[in-house]
């Protein structure tokens, strides 16, 4: 009886420690040296990827976030995308392609002196919305733009 109680206590302690470790990972202040967010990149939807990346999928559509991308991309393997945010204190930006098998293309951690601006080139499997999510002052802002793809970039 008593030994069972001991085992039970040990069990709960172990679970407690794991819980704390997971919790602290999610709640830790943003570190510039963060590890590569594998679960976010493997997520199959924008919502799941956002939750894995920043712990929340509550975004607010904002006119201050701008996504610059072509209306029609002839080649889905190379789609230039520029995200700019007219917001102060931008901590992180992420670019998603809603209909890619794995929507998260990239995530950017910005230092205090970096401006809310990132430009790159992404692959798109088919016509889809490109979604930019900007984290500033602990809040998430988003903007989207549709890009029509005539030749997909995931075939080869």
């Amino acid at each position: 009886m008593d030994s069972k109680r001991r085992t039970f206590l040990k069990g709960t302690l172990a679970v407690g420690a794991v819980g704390v470790a997971v919790g602290s990972g999610l709640l830790a202040p943003r570190r510039v040296l963060a590890a590569w967010p594998q679960t976010a990149f493997e997520a199959k939807s924008v919502q799941d990827a956002l939750k894995a990346l920043v712990g929340s999928d509550l975004t607010e559509a904002s006119g201050k976030v701008r996504v610059k991308a072509p209306d029609i991309a002839e080649n889905g393997a190379v789609v230039p995308v520029t995200v700019s945010a007219g917001l102060g204190g931008v901590e992180r930006m992420a670019i998603f392609v809603e209909k890619n098998p794995q929507p998260l293309t990239s995530s950017y951690d910005l230092a205090a002196n970096a401006q809310g601006y990132v430009s790159t080139r992404i692959k798109m499997g088919k016509t889809s919305d490109v979604i930019a999510v900007v984290q500033a002052g602990g809040k998430l802002y988003s903007a989207r733009k549709e890009v029509k793809v005539t030749i997909g970039g995931c075939g080869g």
Binding site: P80, P101, Y108, D109
Partner: protein
């Protein structure tokens, strides 16, 4: 081996604009070799780091959906002409490269 990175940093009105190109296949792991029918293993850059005079400005985490021979551009304040910007990348196979440029 020649550097895989081309980088240019220019300062205007207190804002430094950095543009960089990296030579990398950015293989997704989804593509098949047309001759053998086997999948080509994934090989892509996962992390790009930019430093200004040793201080980190930007860290990018990339998935395989970034185009082949990737391009990145970003802006930051507080940099002067003659100072250094360093860019480095690491891929999923543990390869890496880095290069410094002088702000012009």
């Amino acid at each position: 081996m020649a550097s895989t990175i081309k980088i240019r940093a220019t300062e205007r009105n207190g804002v430094v604009v950095v543009k960089a190109l990296m030579a990398h296949p950015m293989e997704t792991g989804q593509r098949k070799d047309k001759k053998t029918g086997k999948k080509i293993p994934a090989h892509y850059i996962q992390e790009v780091k930019a430093e200004h005079e040793g201080k980190e400005v930007l860290t990018a985490h990339w998935g395989p959906a970034i185009s082949k021979n990737p391009y990145i551009s970003f802006k930051f304040t507080g940099g002067k002409k003659g100072e250094k910007v360093k860019l480095s990348w690491k891929d999923n196979k543990g390869q890496s490269d880095s290069r410094e440029a002088v702000i012009r």
